[in-house]
Amino acid sequence: MAQPLVKKDDDRDDEAEYSPFLGIEKGAVLQEARVFNDPQLDARRCSQVITKLLYLLNQGDTFTKIEATEVFFAVTKLFQSRDLGLRRMVYLIIKELSPSSDEVIIVTSSLMKDMNSKTDMYRANAIRVLCRITDGTLLTQIERYLKQAIVDKNPVVASAALVSGIHLLQTNPEIVKRWSNEVQEAVQSRAPLVQFHALALLHQIRQNDRLAVSKLVTSLMRGTVRSPLAQCLLIRYTSQVIWESGNNTQSGDRPFYDFLESCLRHKSEMVIFEAARAITELNGVTSRELTPAITVLQLFLSSSKPVLRFAAVRTLNKVAMKHPMAITNCNIDMESLISDQNRSIATLAITTLLKTGNESSVDRLMKQITNFMSDIADEFKIVVVEAIRSLCLKFPLKYRSLMNFLSNILREEGGFDYKKAIVDSIVILIRDIPDAKESGLLHLCEFIEDCEFTYLSTQILHFLGVEGPKTSDPSKYIRYIYNRVHLENATVRASAVSTLAKFGAAVDELKPRIFVLLRRCVFDSDDEVRDRATLYQNTLGGDGSVVETDKDVKDFLFGSFDVPLVNLETSLKNYEPSEEPFDINAVPRESSAPVELTEAETEYAVNVVKHIFDKHVVFQYNCTNTIPEQLLEDVIVIVDASEAEEFSEVFSKPLRSLPYDSPRQTFVAFEKPEGLATVGKFSNILKFIVKEVDPSTGEAEEDSVEDEYQLEDLDVVAADYILKVGVSNFRNAWESLGDDFERVDEYGLGPRESLAEAVNAVINLLGMQPCEGTEVVPPNSRSHTCLLSGVYIGNIKVLVRLSFGLDGPKDVAMKLAVRSEDESVSDAIHEIVGSG
């Protein structure tokens, strides 16, 4: 029996507390473990030593390989003892030591013996230990016993086998799946826990078989479920069945809803919550279905137990995202939770209220939140800031009080992520609410006067450079910006110089004053700052010469790069300094995500990245050799472009050698008509020379054989030529682009799984950037508008407005409106959709 280390009466509690493990040392305990080898085992002493070993392990101490092996071997000797308490400790310490596969063999026979023992508890424990330390080969030997154990009369033995099954399913699914008859039987067990474990395992075994899961759920609903834990599982599996059976609300009642609803009256709180959550998460839930769930959740808001309040408010918070109106009845209860001692609860309550509140309650709510902000951690504050941002966008008329709130908290203490969340919010409000612009910019200016985060300062300076010149009095920002040149580090100073130049370029009256300031920056101690100051002076014509036209200057200062920065960075890194200058036109204007050309787990893994240039397309094949016994040489992809007529191969770069498990690249380049979005299909064969490798020495043999390997086909599609570039304010961008080259047409998309699926398909087809979150389709919608933006090959801006509507039960109709700077591009977008 496990004995306490020091015998001690309760009345000695008042004595000085000292740890029985005081001064414990790993080395000394390992020495003590030698008692395991004594011919006459002292069970009590051995238990004490095991306890010390457990203490060390539980403290996070680790044993070296040699130490662990020694202890493990010594522990196996303890199987000789018949002392029950010691045996229980031995089972535990073996699991904790987790012996390596070559050591397990020592203990296997003892454990197999215990597994067939007449003593039930030996069986249960031996199963747990064996399953913890076993590998596949041993498992086939003991499988027979495990199957018996699953239907053992003793619930502890059955549970041990079932829980082991849950773990083994991860590593040896084929074996565990063979047990389903026994597990099915265990689901009917009268022992509550056995039923719980059996249900979990059976569901995992059958989770990919929809019909089987549906049958399982139906039969259990009719039968008896004996524990709340199992009932929760049943509810979870039921909602999965409902979800998979699709949305039948229009055709009548939802299957199994009555079951979920009846669970709301269960005596266990856990079950009630599970049912309420399942109902609130039903796809396209109606308000009639929601009401009973919301009512029980509301009751829990005033529970005396924090866990229940937390669970209730957390669930309601989720509901508020989709159905804010459904929970307005709970607002009063939720307001009282703002002062909850538990900050997690209070934060959830506040963010829920911010989602459900109406315009008239905003001011009152803000007052309450102000008091609350000072005593919560940054992570909670960020959640609140994000909620306030959405509230402000919802009620733009309230921007004044919300902007004030944000600027106040911006002045208070806080870490980077928190400050970034506030700055991001102010920037978004400035962009979306024109009235908020001037006050917002001034708040940001004040913030950078005392900002410790370089990243935020540079972001704000960049933003000021874009927005500041468009305000009624741009000159008032100059002081804040120029102060940065005196007071900050080089990175911020360089940003400030760029921002000054933007003001100079955009506002003629300010230009002479900006020159004075830029001239001072030429004496900066940092070369980047000096270089920028000199560059901008020249660009703006500060030295008296008119170097460039006004348009060129503005394009230079305000224009965006027409190549993605990642591609520029990669190209710069690959550039080797030479006489030949770096050519920015050699940077791919777009690179696709890797497309797999082989299935998972094949001998050779190949994926391809498409690099798009104005006149060329380059395929970068990333190849991996997954066979340790092979070395590949002269690897090349032979590309057949007969279905891509307008492409002609101009260059290919083979791969000298491809050793095992070290990915390398080979390239093939094609020429194509300049500036056109040419499409085509390419078939690929991987060609190479194989040499056998001796695994023991790693050396390749001299003999070699030529071989080839068929890869999947590859398509270049129109979407490859469109850059995903977002716009911050779609309506402004749409209107400023004008309707000169607008093209509108309607399309029938045929029957679709859902509106959301149709929207997604069109977005992927066009490869454009969804704007303003319009890629998300609210559940149950019958119509939806999605806004997309991008830049077409030739650097032509293009915007798309998609209006979807359900025509009949499943048929989706779509109206496509395109605006761009070039009519052929507008037509091209329609062609993509028409042919896709």
Partner: protein, 147 residues
């Protein structure tokens, strides 16, 4: 998955820590996060009063029992309610072994048995046993009474 069960003393020193499926390099972070959470919130809490928190998609239910604070961390199906069940089993078992809400000394005196109880309650991240009487018998290798 029950990601962690952790016991600490009043000063925030770890008495027992068991992680399941948490990479070794993240454990230190969890340990200090939990201890800080307890230091901030457990002062003045009653024995076995359950406190709750969430950190990203992970739930934490914690409590104090005598001189010992107990933390259980879970994710997915082990949400705050399931974890309350787990921590309830753990506190009942510990009280049973110690005979009352333990002092630190008493807890350490019964260390081996408490480890055995935990072994019966949580099996590599899954809840296995839930009744203290059964657990009491199981750690002595006695079959459950109802059998």
């Amino acid at each position: 998955m029950i990601l962690a069960v952790l016991f600490a003393n009043v000063e925030g020193n770890i008495l027992i820590e068991r992680f399941h499926g948490v990479p070794a390099e993240e454990r230190l972070h969890w340990r200090s996060f939990l201890v800080k959470l307890g230091a901030d919130n457990l002062k003045g809490a009653k024995n076995e009063e359950l406190l709750v928190a969430c950190h990203k998609s992970v739930y934490i239910v914690y409590t104090v029992l005598g001189d010992v604070s107990i933390y259980v961390v879970g994710k997915d199906e082990y949400d705050e309610l399931a974890l309350s069940e787990v921590i309830f089993v753990i506190t009942s078992a510990v009280k049973d072994v110690c005979g009352k809400a333990p002092t630190e000394r008493l807890f350490l005196d019964k260390y081996g048995r408490i480890c055995l109880c935990l072994d019966e309650i949580v099996w590599k991240g899954y809840l296995e046993n839930t009744e203290k009487d059964r657990i009491k018998r199981l750690i002595r290798l006695k079959p459950p009474t109802e059998f």
